[in-house]
């Protein structure tokens, strides 16, 4: 019987020595004030406080557990395909027992192919793609996050993250390698406006075909609900008083 707490804290991944080794953090923006209240509502006297929002940055080796062997195998597989590891992989982040490989977008298809075909990797299942919009990250505002699962190699999980700038929101499609991603890429296009080049039919999937804009983006305008009560309206959710 495996240790319960260990399995829970790592999602089944075996625990190594250094599973939490984020390096220089990535600052995606800053938070002002003490309680996250928007301007004029912070009466704490700490309204001028500025705190950077720091995401875990690139980890240094050793990553711990099976992560080192995984990255080595990936590097060897990429070299065999004629792609330099340093060109394809921008950084590796190990955080909270999970590994994220940040891949340059033009190399995503070759990375996906190596992940699927390399016998020691064999990630059969790509559990879709999830978009994230970071308006504060200049030049890489749009992120596409691909979780992979290898059933063959003991249900290991990794994550591949690809970024694209708002001005040029193109990321190569991996539908040719993982057909399961057809609908997932359509959803991410629909919600974030990321254009997956090479997708067989990149059309909207959840929103109506003629819908303007991409709702999950952070700059998508939210609607208020006009309520007839002495001329007052309910403001959009992002303009209401909040403590975030």
């Amino acid at each position: 019987m495996t240790d319960l707490t260990q399995a829970q804290s790592t999602g089944g991944n075996p625990v190594g020595e250094a599973l939490d080794t984020p390096g220089e953090p990535i600052v995606i923006g800053e938070r002002r004030g003490m309680f996250g209240a928007t301007a004029g509502q912070d009466t704490s006297g700490y309204g001028g406080l500025v705190v950077p929002i720091a995401f875990p940055g690139a980890s240094a080796r050793p990553y711990g557990g099976w992560f080192d062997a995984f990255v080595d195998t990936l590097a060897a597989g990429l070299e065999a395909e004629g792609t330099a590891y340093g060109d394809a992989v921008q950084m590796v982040v190990v955080d909270r027992g999970e590994i994220t490989v940040h891949v340059a977008r033009e190399h995503l298809p070759v990375v996906a192919r190596v992940l699927r075909d390399e016998p020691a990797l064999r990630f059969e299942i790509c559990a879709g793609v999830s978009g994230v919009h970071y308006p504060g990250l200049s030049g890489q505002e749009l992120h596409a996050v691909y979780p992979f699962l290898s059933i063959t190699n003991g249900s290991k999980r990794i994550r591949v993250e690809v970024s694209a700038p708002d001005a040029d929101p193109h990321i190569p499609s991996i539908v040719a390698i993982y057909p399961a991603n057809t609908w997932h890429e359509r959803e991410t296009w629909d919600m974030f406006g990321i254009i997956f080049d090479g997708h067989p039919a990149l059309t909207r999937i959840l929103m109506p075909d003629d819908w303007p804009g991409h709702p999950q983006r952070k700059d998508y305008p939210l609607g208020g609900i006009p309520v007839e009560y002495k001329g007052a309206t309910v403001p959009p959710a992002d303009e209401r008083r909040a403590f975030n």
Partner: protein, 447 residues
């Protein structure tokens, strides 16, 4: 269609020159005769989005050659409610109330995936009390049974077997009696919370489980006797909706559909969470790769779930009185919720303290309730084995009191992609059976 638009299909007016038949009910033969008289070889039939057999609002666009389906396309999005976007404007705890409504037949799985993801982001996974994990397992397995019962019941009804439906829903009500006793609600429970669960399982609930489990087992047995060797069921389901292991792997299919192709992949065994590795149960597989195999997988899985329910109940009876929430009061709700005779209410002791004796407690209560807790920046992906397959939750935090991004990888959304490969080349009537064997719920697909 103008080339500079992003529309998926042209407007309906563009196809006005081709004849259109509107059918709602009636005899299929009449339709076929009428269509034949038009001398059109290619017939496109729009099934749904409000057809009773489409499990909600799924729209199937079928191209027919006589009775044979030559092309199938699934149109989804009719039930998109923007839950993921909404969650970005609510606190971490309030998010449970939203994600529980995604796949409305498996509320506990969304709650569990979401809460496990938050706990991983907070780094408190190993501080979750054992009793809370046991309650989560109990509730998830009960939900699996109720989801499978609806799948089999509605699947039977779509084939004309109304008794299968009434038996399925009758047994589901028994499961709901337990769930209602424990959570106060039949569906949309918002019961599993970050750090634990909202309410304890009482001795009364344990007694009810002990009373109900044999009855549910008897009901499932009745369902088995009704369908397993039923010649009509077998005639409709055997070798229908075939998807082999290669197809499953290519399309990322998980859950009963994958297990009906023979691969014993179950996240409860592969990457255990909530202590599943300490429970005794088996992963059910079939080799037939068809709708009938999926039916049998689901029936057998319900027995396995009942086994887990019994084990969890034993543990809960032994651990009565132990905590069900993480000790950190900044994350846990400030007071243990207690339900009064009116089904509502909160801890009287706590109200007495914050209203009568301690100003500081009142301030803390107010801040935790209105503002919630903060989660350190970062992202996680946590997957649980829902009744339909791998339910993944990708959560991103920017250090605030709300999720920066919450994405659910719903198993139905992914598995529904297999509709085309299962249906093309088969008869129209088989489409219903094939879709039912995937068990999609549009609330989860469209979110």
């Amino acid at each position: 269609m103008a080339a500079d638009t992003t529309h998926a299909t042209g407007a309906a007016e563009e196809y006005l020159d081709s004849p259109t038949l509107h059918v709602s009910g009636g005899d299929w033969d009449d339709l076929v005769d009428e269509a034949t008289s038009l001398h059109e070889e290619r017939i496109v039939v729009n099934m749904g989005p409000q057809h009773p057999s489409t499990h909600g609002v799924l729209r199937l666009i079928l191209e027919l050659d006589g009775e044979t389906v030559t092309e199938t396309r699934a149109g989804i999005g009719y039930l998109h409610t923007g839950i993921e976007k909404n969650m970005e404007f609510r606190t971490w705890v309030q998010g449970v109330t939203f994600c529980t409504r995604m796949d409305y037949l498996t509320p506990m799985f969304q709650e569990a995936a979401y809460c496990l993801a938050i706990e991983k982001l907070l780094g408190i996974t190993d501080q979750i009390p054992q009793r809370a994990s046991d309650i989560r397992v109990l509730m998830m397995e009960l939900t699996r049974i109720s989801s499978h019962l609806v799948c089999l019941g509605t699947g039977g009804m779509e084939m004309g077997a109304t008794t299968v439906m009434t038996v399925g829903f009758r047994e589901r009500e028994r499961v709901f009696r337990i769930i209602e006793e424990v959570t106060g609600l039949r569906m949309n429970n918002a019961f599993i919370r970050p750090g634990g669960v909202a309410q304890d399982v009482s001795q009364r609930a344990i007694d009810l489980i002990r009373e109900m489990v044999p009855e549910i087992r008897r009901g499932i047995r009745e369902l088995e006797l009704l369908v397993n060797e039923n010649p009509i069921v077998k005639g409709r389901m055997v070798d229908v909706g075939i998807l082999d292991l290669t197809g499953c792997m290519a399309l990322g299919i998980t859950g009963p559909v994958l297990r009906s192709a023979g691969l014993p992949h179950d996240l409860r065994k592969a990457t255990p969470y909530c202590g599943y590795e300490t429970y005794d149960f088996e992963v059910i597989t079939r080799e037939s790769m068809d709708a009938y195999g999926r039916l049998r997988v689901r029936l057998d899985e319900m027995y396995q779930s009942l086994r887990i329910v019994e084990q969890a109940t034993d543990r809960l009876e032994a651990s009565l009185g132990q905590p069900i929430m993480v000790a950190d009061k900044k994350i846990a709700w400030p007071a243990q919720l207690s339900v009064g005779t009116d089904g509502m209410g909160n801890s009287l002791d706590h109200i007495r303290e914050i209203m009568g004796t301690s100003m500081e407690s009142l301030i803390h209560h107010f801040k935790i309730v209105t503002e919630g807790f903060r989660v350190p920046p970062g992202q996680v992906y946590v997957a649980v084995e829902s009744a339909k397959g791998e339910l993944g939750c990708h959560l991103v935090s920017d250090g605030g009191t709300r999720p920066y991004r919450a994405h659910f990888r719903d198993p139905s959304f992914n598995n529904l992609q297999a509709t085309a490969i299962m249906c093309e080349g088969s008869q129209v009537a088989d489409v219903i059976v094939a879709v039912a064997s995937i068990d999609p719920v549009m609330g989860g697909v469209d979110r």
